[in-house]
Amino acid sequence: MDIVNQAKKYRKLHRLTQEALAQAVGVSRRTIISLEKGKYTPSLLLALQLADFFQVNISEIFYLDKQMGI
């Protein structure tokens, strides 16, 4: 089962660059790029930091793609 993330959508909603978001949550721009591409699954800490930064529930940014199957 894959994890879908809406980090890019929320970043664009807040009109932020990848660099700005990276600085805000204390990671490299490369990590934000990988995260948005779905190549990297963030730790629970980073996921919570992103949710906190965007002021949304964590499940609005990250959720399971149930259609993919196991």
């Binding site: 204390g26 990671v27 490299s28 990590t31 990988s34 190549k39 990297y40 730790s43």
Partner: protein, 146 residues
């Protein structure tokens, strides 16, 4: 990625010079005297030079997450920690495979004492270099992939 290439090239250079210095000492020393050849001075010079370069690099590349003390295990964030962990596992596997091969080579060859010493130094140094190389290549691979 640059910090890992920098660190590992420096480390490989250091091991190569140490190997040359040890081989020179083993081949030129007798039972009662231990001779330190000029390779030891080159090795010492390299350690000092590399130490200075590491210090300067750690001061100028803070944004890239390079740490003087952490060396090749320098990480900027959690993604790089994941990259480093995977690279470490790969390097460990490669080193073990190489050392098993080295043991087999040791067991098969019938050599004199000095030749055995030299072969031992070369094989063990090669094992360390393979570990460094495997770590660097795996780091680059996983950094591009993750």
């Amino acid at each position: 990625m640059k910090k890992i290439i920098f660190e590992q090239i420096g480390n490989i250079g250091m091991v190569l010079l140490l190997m040359a210095a040890l081989v020179q000492t083993v081949t030129s020393s007798s039972r009662n005297t231990i001779l330190l050849g000029n390779w030891w001075f080159i090795f010492l010079g390299w350690i000092i030079l590399f130490g200075i370069l590491k210090y300067l690099y750690s001061k100028t590349a803070r944004k890239g997450g390079y740490s003087f003390m952490a060396g090749e295990f320098s990480i900027q964030d959690e993604r790089e920690r994941a990259v480093s962990n995977r690279a470490t596992v790969f390097a460990y596997k490669m080193t073990i495979i190489f050392l098993i091969c080295a043991i087999l080579i040791f067991a098969v060859l019938n050599l004199e004492v000095v030749q055995l010493k030299v072969l031992g130094i070369v094989l063990l140094s090669s094992g360390i270099i393979i570990g460094f190389l495997a770590y660097m290549l795996a780091w680059i691979f996983y950094d591009l992939r993750i």
